[in-house]
């Protein structure tokens, strides 16, 4: 059972454009993380959101946690080639049993 659905799975856009990646679930999470992964490397944590409705900004990246803590979005403004990578959302339901990951969004920013 895929508890976290990410969309789109693949996205290729031109440098300077804006984009939004979505992470949706029917389950409530106590927190949600966004990771970025480059080929041949492990995922790197970008941000954690905990409170329903929370918005966090990381330079040109804006992360939002849904009011009901079931979904999240990642918005990138003025995308750059360096933003290229696999973006993963992961939800925590509490306890020590790890994270539930979405399948990821492959993002390519073309110069």
């Amino acid at each position: 059972t895929q508890l976290l659905e990410q969309s789109p799975q693949f996205l290729s856009i031109q440098e300077g454009e804006n984009l939004t990646v979505y992470c949706n679930s029917s389950s409530v999470f106590s927190s949600l993380q966004w990771y970025r992964q480059e080929p041949g490397e492990g995922p790197v944590l970008l941000v954690t959101v905990v409170t329903g409705g929370e918005v966090k900004k990381l330079k040109r990246l804006t992360f939002q946690f849904g009011d009901a803590r079931k979904d999240s979005s990642l918005h990138i403004t003025a995308a750059q080639p360096g933003d290229t990578g696999l973006y993963l959302c992961a939800g925590e339901r509490g306890g020590a049993d790890g994270l539930t990951f979405g399948k990821g969004t492959h993002l390519i920013i073309q110069p």
């Binding site: 927190s31 944590l45 993963l88 049993d97 790890g98 399948k103």
Partner: protein
């Protein structure tokens, strides 16, 4: 960056052979995790540890065992490797005193079972 290393980074082995992957951390974090990453499936939890000698199963634990005799080391063993265990394996660590859910990943081990 969190101090996490994995060894080996690449391994090719034959079906039926035992394989052990090692995760080593220098952060003294309590929680350690093993995931596998496969196309179309994303990252899936194999086993995790919440302390020395304290481990539990994850979503895809069949065919895998783990051990943690020291805080810094978490071993993943494939008792008899199968082709379906060809994957990229990631170790992750988490500090129970830190922000909820945040995990830090190692560089991964690419395992090919022929």
């Amino acid at each position: 960056d969190a101090g996490i290393t994995q060894s080996p980074r690449h391994k090719v082995t034959e079906t039926g052979t035992p394989v052990t992957l090692r995760c080593h951390q220098t952060e003294n974090h309590r929680y350690m995790y093993w995931y596998r990453q496969d196309p179309g499936h994303g990252l899936r939890l194999i086993h995790y540890s919440y302390g020395v000698k304290d481990t539990d199963k994850g979503e895809v634990s069949d065919g895998y065992s783990v051990s943690r005799s020291k805080t810094e080391d978490f071993l993943l063993t494939l008792e008899s490797a199968t082709s379906s265990q060809t994957s990229v394996y990631f170790c992750a660590i988490s500090d129970s005193a830190g922000a909820p859910g945040e995990q830090y990943f190692g560089p991964g081990t690419r395992l090919t079972v022929t």
